[in-house]
Symmetry: C2
Subunit: 209 residues, 2 copies
């Protein structure tokens, strides 16, 4: 019937569909509560396809963490918070950007790897490592700006850029937990505001902006 048109909807492939489905489902109910059958159903593929692409459920977990790293790093790389000329402004704009992301349902803004590592840190070292790499890798993208800001504002001897970068991630991860507990983003925005205030205080920048 249809002519040569490559394909109705891009084939996407079972692997990609499974990975996309995994992000949503695992963020909603966690890794171990997510069954392979459920993943297949959501992705519209069969179990055979699943085990063709992933040698085990654990391997899917690792792949999902890596997929998450790629997806998010693209989002952050192209985000507008890199625009300001002042490095401290960029750091603060990052926090603002993270705050702006806190919209919609809790499962839409929370972090896949933060969720997965909670369940898997003792039972799967490869998942734990993939999650660690994702978090640390993202934190590392902040270090240069923090470092430059510390130099520019003369407090390089008072702060450790790597430590502060990781701390921003801790605050956000904790904010997600509170958001899950309270069923909404409000509390998370609150914590993000505290984080921003901390950074401003550290750099002696006044509240007004």
């Amino acid at each position: 019937m249809d002519s040569i048109r490559p394909l109705p909807n891009p084939p996407a492939g079972a692997r990609a569909k499974l990975l996309d489905a995994a992000l949503g489902i695992i963020r909603t109910k966690g890794f171990s509560a997510t069954s392979v059958d459920e993943l297949c159903a959501a992705a519209g593929v069969t179990k055979g396809a699943f085990f063709h692409h992933f040698q085990s459920k654990e391997a899917l977990g690792v792949a999902a963490a890596n997929h998450w790293s790629i997806t998010t790093s693209e989002l952050f790389a192209t985000a507008p918070y890199h625009a300001p000329a002042d490095p401290l402004d960029r750091v603060l704009a990052y926090v603002d950007f993270r705050t702006a992301l806190l919209e919609g349902g809790v499962e839409e803004f929370t972090c896949l790897v933060g969720t997965m590592v909670q369940e898997s840190y003792q039972t799967s070292d490869i998942i734990r490592a993939a999650c660690e790499a994702s978090i640390s890798g993202h934190a590392a993208t902040l270090e240069a700006d923090i470092s430059a800001a510390a130099v520019k504002y003369g407090i390089a001897d008072q702060i450790d850029p790597a430590s502060l970068a990781l701390h921003t991630q801790a605050v956000l991860q904790g904010a997600f937990i509170l958001a899950k507990a309270k069923g909404g983003a409000d509390i998370a925005r609150d914590s993000a505001a505290h984080l921003k205030r901390y950074i401003m205080l550290l750099f002696n920048r006044g509240e007004a902006r």
Copy 2:
């Protein structure tokens, strides 16, 4: 053989043994990866005993969260950080106390309800609510000191005690996630130090102490 001596080790009861076992196991592998059979084996009781005391695994989850609330509130109520006369000193001593608790294996210092709420916020509202109550209840114990400190140091119009109290919990929960990801407490101590520094900056207290 043995005489009337009540019992070798206090009977404890299946319920208490199950609850104690639940704290340890759920903290290491999460709620859904923890099976009823495993819980029974660890507690040294049978499945019949389990379902005699808990109408479902979900009910055990709620009871475990409540048990956690009671256990931890006793720990904190009798802790020495309440001693200082100055309310700000008490708040800072609280953070120090939490930092001092960051010892041993990750599964020994992380938070049961923080772990559980991640997996259950969408699938079990009663577990979610029990976790929320645990976290918020603990945060509430900090409010009075924060509030008094804010008045004493003349910044009552600049901070919201409830919000700051909850933020301390967010930081700690996030620190636990990073500790799980990195496999050690060091990173968590780092974030706790940032939290302390934030509070000192908020209250205009110098770094020296």
